[in-house]
């Protein structure tokens, strides 16, 4: 975030505060002897454009992320899941993601899915995420803002999207190569490939480089 962008923001009204639904699973919550708990691994905050909000991650994602030793959280932005609707549009969704991120005890990885990927990309320009993961992004802003704090970025797209213009634009903006998965955008939450995809993301997060 540039100084100018910050000045602009301090001079525009803050979106109305809402009570956000945040689902959290910590490794200790799993009651699983096998599960490792890695207190040094950064927490993960997920967000989707799907109307179910945090609930979309509940079945598979949060448990599996927590199972890998990370604090796993998902937020419903205003109008999703159990978070009440409130005006404000994209700017307010980004505000919700940033507010959810600072409520996490440590610097978090931001994972965005679908339209949620656009919100997390914008949130990463305001909050120094530990890493930024964009899964099957939709409706990304035309010019992607530079993330603050220089996080690692991972772009995950379906095979059919791998050659699309948008994918090209994102890979150019962040200088990363996309990770592809078979199937459609919704398949990341269920379906045969979902677990494998999530494990690929987690192993990218664990990579030290």
């Amino acid at each position: 975030m540039s100084l100018q962008a910050w000045v602009r923001r301090t001079r525009t009204p803050e979106p109305a505060a809402v009570e956000r639904e945040i689902a959290v699973i910590e490794p200790a919550d799993l009651f699983d002897f096998e599960a490792q708990d890695d207190p040094d691994a950064s927490p993960v905050l997920c967000c989707t454009g799907d109307g179910a909000g945090a609930a979309a991650f509940g079945v598979l994602w949060l448990k599996r992320i927590a199972g890998s030793g990370r604090y796993a959280a998902a937020v419903s932005v205003r109008g999703q899941g159990n978070t009440p609707a409130a005006p404000g549009g994209v700017e307010a969704y980004v505000h919700d993601v940033v507010q959810a991120a600072i409520a996490i005890p440590r610097r978090a990885v931001l994972v965005g899915h679908g339209r949620g990927a656009a919100w997390t990309a914008l949130a990463a320009a305001r909050y120094p995420a530990d890493a930024l993961v964009l899964v099957a992004p939709q409706k990304l802003p035309k010019s992607l803002p530079k993330p603050v704090g220089d996080p690692r970025v991972l772009l995950v797209v379906s095979e059919s999207e791998a050659q699309s213009k948008q994918t090209q634009a994102v890979t150019d903006a962040y200088g990363v190569a996309p990770l592809t998965f078979p199937g459609a955008s919704e398949d990341v939450f269920k379906g045969p490939g979902a677990e494998g995809l999530l494990d690929a993301i987690l192993s990218w997060l664990n990579r030290k480089d």
Binding site: M1, W6, V7, T10, I104, P105, R126, P128
Partner: protein, 451 residues
């Protein structure tokens, strides 16, 4: 870290030494870490949070200290405060916020508590030797760093006036930082001295607790409420900057007119400066307390006489407690005065762009400034610039030299000319101009090097 003998300085290579773990120090550590620097932060007390921590034995907090700038204008740009917090959080919330910031970014592991820096001196050109004051029974430690950022703040050395006859006064005389507990005012006749935000807040505290409250100020101030036009006052005024200049001044005048008129009607001196030149008073209760007579507004003290205090207008009062809310003197004891540009007649540092030492390129000061707006974001951008600067200095000496020249020319622009008679406001800058200067500095630093 192991024990070091007092003879050999332990070399920390390119690591940066940050002095102070208050708000400014924490922000400095975080931004330096983000730019890839090793950091050692030294804190003389045993807790973080600096002036916001009541456990800090030098804490200047007074009863019911709250922010005077609103949340959205005060929060650190990349770590906002929770949006369900009130517009003007209390000191306790500020401490919670700073602790959260330190935990979130893992800053605590870089802080050495109970370690006061006794002095620093430049060695080997641009490096620094830092001497850590020995704890009881052990030898002083000496370490070498690539750079030093001083973030000790300026709310530690009370500025105490002395009036004729004051030493013979038999009542209690306190500085605002010694008050701690509002119950000390209960049922007493209280004289509060000083027209800054602390003086006004303490006068309001005394207005409801004390038997009688007399408030002495020596000059005119801007008395603004915390809300204007249905919004936090600083936000309402800052927002006008989006408009063209003439509309802005028209609207600003319209917003401020009523309050100026009211304070004039209550017999207060008109301010001799514009409301952006120095911190305005932000307290909506003050004028109401003056209006209902629970605060008696008086001019400057002329002299003390026995148990009585006489004011410039000839009135007298017989107070039980005198509270001097007369602010603080900036004092950076561990740095040789010359390095901060302190010259003979003034004890105030003269820094380049209000942050860089005029002598040594690798010495900077964060947060030694009174911008009249929230200081945390200013410190964020200062330390952002400082860490970028240190990076460039390492990698590209030619760009560094050009940058240095720019900073020298920038620094001439922030002088506020109408600081009037109050030497205390030597740290004041016009936030608008200072931020514009920071934008230019950061733009230069972030530009891709010309190939």
């Amino acid at each position: 870290m192991q024990e070091y003998s007092s003879q050999a300085a332990y070399d920390r290579g390119e690591a940066v030494c940050v002095i102070g773990a208050g708000a400014s120090g924490l922000i400095a550590v975080k931004n330096l870490r983000e730019n890839g620097f090793e950091v050692d932060c030294y804190e003389r007390d045993t807790v973080l949070g600096g002036l916001w921590n009541p456990q800090n034995q030098h804490s200047p907090l007074y009863p019911n200290t709250h922010l005077v700038t609103s949340r959205s204008q005060t929060e650190i740009p990349d770590y906002p405060m929770p949006d369900h917090w009130p517009d003007y959080p209390s000191a306790a919330r500020m401490l919670e916020y700073l602790k959260g910031y330190a935990a979130h970014f893992g800053l605590a592991e870089h802080i050495w508590y109970g370690s006061e820096i006794s002095h620093i001196e430049p060695v080997e050109g641009s490096r620094f030797e830092v001497v850590v004051k020995p704890a009881a029974g052990s030898a002083a430690r000496r370490l070498r760093y690539g750079a030093v950022i001083v973030a000790t703040g300026h709310h530690w050395v009370p500025n105490l006036p002395s009036y004729p006859g004051q030493d013979l006064f038999r009542g209690t005389v306190l500085h605002s930082s010694q008050l701690k507990d509002g119950s000390r005012l209960r049922g007493k006749s209280v004289l509060v001295v000083g027209g800054g935000n602390s003086g006004i807040d303490i006068a309001c505290e005394a207005a409801v607790n004390a038997d009688r409250c007399v408030h002495s100020v020596r000059r005119g101030y801007w008395y603004l409420p915390k809300y204007l036009g249905g919004e936090p006052a600083d936000y309402a005024l800052a927002r006008l900057h989006n408009r063209p200049r003439w509309i802005r001044s028209l609207l600003t005048n319209r917003i401020l007119k009523g309050h100026r008129h009211l304070s004039a009607r209550m017999g207060m001196e008109a301010p001799d400066h514009s409301h952006t030149d120095e911190e305005p008073i932000r307290n909506g209760r003050y004028l109401e307390h003056v209006g209902d007579g629970s605060i008696e507004h008086r001019p400057e003290i002329a002299h003390f006489e026995g148990g009585e205090v006489a004011f410039a207008d000839g009135e007298t009062v017989r107070p039980d407690v005198v509270v001097f809310a007369t602010g603080y003197k900036p004092k950076i004891g561990c740095v040789p005065a010359g390095l901060l540009g302190v010259d003979g007649e003034s004890e105030y540092p003269k820094l380049l762009a209000r942050m860089f030492s005029p002598r040594v390129e690798t010495l900077a000061v964060a947060g030694l400034i009174e911008p009249g707006v929230g200081v945390l974001p200013i410190v964020h951008w200062q330390t952002h610039a400082i860490s970028h600067w240190l990076n460039i200095r390492k990698g590209d000496p030619e760009r560094a030299a050009n940058f240095r020249q720019q900073v020298v020319s920038e620094s001439a622009q922030y002088e506020v000319d109408s600081t009037g008679i109050s030497p205390r406001h030597r740290l004041a800058v016009d936030a608008e101009e200072y931020l514009a200067g920071l934008v230019r500095i950061i733009d230069t630093l972030e530009q891709e090097p010309a190939k």
